[in-house]
Assembly symmetry: C2
Homo-oligomer: 378 residues x 2
């Protein structure tokens, strides 16, 4: 019943009984319990249904608060949201993740507390915290597993450590997965099959399969950075193989190619600046990287048949130059049936995809029917 | 309650109340209804639980019959199964599918009727028919969509045509999807992430994602035959692109390579015979095809992180020669986390994967909780 109200307009008792197929007495009982817990509120509109006026009820997005964090290698974003994943307060910072888990998480807990205080809100109103980390995370435990760029974090019990300080449930996932959740929620909730590709120094993807995050058998799904690019020369990747997508078209590779063309680029940010300044040679190099990313995505389109591919991450700032290359190869190499209605577009949330997704991860968990049933005791 | 009994041992009323959390009165009501409809039967064992003996109840696999068919380009297999997908009667035939839908389906309806008669059973006992076709099928309507090797079948209303003759619900899907369902059910039901690869003249795959068949946004998922092989020379594929997996390692390509080596091979069956006869050059060619298939699957392993890859289809008869090539490249090119527990093995059902899967498709549909609720009126 709560999910009906959450996803649709305000409804009357009669409408809810009709939609859910529940008896009117059951609907009334549950409405009372949901009202008591403030999960729903009477809507402003009073709808006349023939006879006497009937009150409509609506989902109350303000019922609880969510803490959300997207921790990067150097950049971090922390936010307070409502149950509609709307950001109520937000802060960015540059806390290097290689300082290790305890200093980083102590700073995070402190920042959550400050954001609440500044907003005049209280931890008692918070229903959970969602955290994105830049490395592989074991889904069940929420612990990082052999994260390559997070020294000291391997198997650190992130949820337990934060639960002890915050006293609210804590969910952790890798940054690309939560960005996929955020993009799906914000711009593409109608698409049951979505692939979000993050192109930064590394390249990875998060996948929504049948409306839910696909993590794979070991939580290792989406590691497309080490797929071999068929069209590229066999440049050596730090992983030991040749021709990996990341080594060919990642941020560092892009900067190296631009530098080799005689332009001053040390990292992807420099490439984006040269591109904005209108260097045609940079545009050509970016478009070629798009083609190489497209070569790998074309295989995935044939295998998976997504409805939407969203491209995000630092390098995605290259916009149409990159997308043109991606689209060119996907439309050439993938099957007509799979590309007929396929949308390939840049992230709309940009830097905020991670925190929106971290909030969504918590909201989906808190508002799962079983969870609500156990909270709302009638 | 039915799903508890279906997946586990016989249970008493007390156990069922405990497992389902339902009130004992509700359990008794539902048990009576299920007994009346013969979905369950009293189990032979009478278990003494301290005091007076309590009767246990078990799922009744014999409650209904299922009709299953796997129609190929030339070979067909038709079967009668119980609700455990156990084959009770079976027939193979060679009805060319290019005769068009009406002659083929008339023959199929006739064969179903004969199988029932021979088994002394009746259409009234049948709960549904499942059909696999060798081409793309629109999931919602069960109609073939632009099938390349089924002239006259495009958009033919297969379910409606058969429902009119048989009077039972009819479900249709493409052959590779039902084979994936069959392999998952029979040998790997514990694996939530499974990829079944069919290697015949064409190459395609069926994917189980989070325990359910993944069809993709347009039902086009699994078309891996036109993914470009990074390591192969750019042989031209009938699709117009170069280096497609099917053009490089499919049955026809394999036969052509063996023929080019001076051995008498016109199709994949000839290659399998030469291989069994022990020609080392044929073993080398088959292993190389395995490597090329492995190159494409390595990308899919990185993206999807399956627990199991099952290799089936005619060419899979090549067994270890083919699997060795597949494994070699996947273990070289995929990430350790994704391959650590990955099983890559040959189909155990062989030619029967299709009919088992066709039956499973019907059983899953008939025994879905909503479906049982609506059938078993209390």
């Amino acid at each position: 019943m709560l999910s009906v109200l959450r996803e649709g307009p305000a409804r009357t008792r009669t409408e809810l009984a009709h939609i859910t197929g529940l008896a009117r007495s059951t609907v009334s009982q549950r409405l009372d319990a949901l009202l008591r817990h403030r999960w729903i509120v009477p809507a402003d509109d009073v709808i006349s249904s023939g006879g006497r006026p009937a009150t409509a009820f609506a989902f109350n997005k303000a019922a609880r608060l969510v803490l959300a964090a997207d921790l990067g290698v150097t950049h971090d974003r922390v936010a307070l949201t409502d149950l509609g994943a709307t950001v109520l307060a937000e802060r960015t910072a540059e806390v290097p993740i290689d300082r290790g888990p305890e200093p980083t998480l102590a700073w995070l807990a402190q920042t959550f507390t400050e954001l609440l205080a500044e907003s005049g809100r209280d931890l008692a109103e918070v229903c959970g915290a969602g955290i994105g980390l830049p490395g592989p995370v074991e889904h069940v435990s929420g612990r990082p597993v052999n994260p390559p760029i997070m020294p000291g974090w391997d198997r650190f019990p992130v949820p337990e450590w934060l639960v002890e300080r915050l006293g609210v449930p804590v969910l952790v996932d890798n940054d690309v997965n939560i960005m996929a959740l955020g993009e799906h929620w914000a711009g593409h909730s109608e698409a049951d099959q979505l692939i979000f590709v993050k192109i930064g120094t590394g390249i990875g993807c998060g996948t929504i399969s049948d409306g839910r995050l696909h993590r794979g058998a070991q939580g290792a799904a989406g590691d497309i950075g080490h797929i071999r690019v068929a069209t590229a020369d066999g440049v050596l990747c730090p992983c030991g193989n040749r021709g990996c997508l990341e080594a060919v078209a990642g941020g560092a590779a892009l900067a190296a190619r631009v530098a080799a063309a005689g332009l001053p680029a040390r990292r992807s940010r420099d490439v984006m600046e040269l591109l904005r300044a209108g260097h045609p040679e940079v545009a050509r190099i970016v478009r070629q990287a798009g083609r190489e990313i497209g070569d790998v995505l074309a295989s995935i389109v044939n295998f998976f048949n997504p409805a939407v591919i969203v491209i995000g991450g630092d390098v995605a700032e290259a916009g149409e130059h990159l997308l043109a290359g991606v689209r060119e190869v996907i439309y050439k190499r993938s099957l007509p049936l799979a590309t007929q209605h396929l949308r390939i577009q840049a992230s709309e949330l940009g830097d905020r995809a991670g925190i929106i997704g971290a909030a969504v991860m918590v909201i989906e968990d808190v508002l799962a029917p079983e969870a609500v049933d156990s909270m709302v005791t009638i």
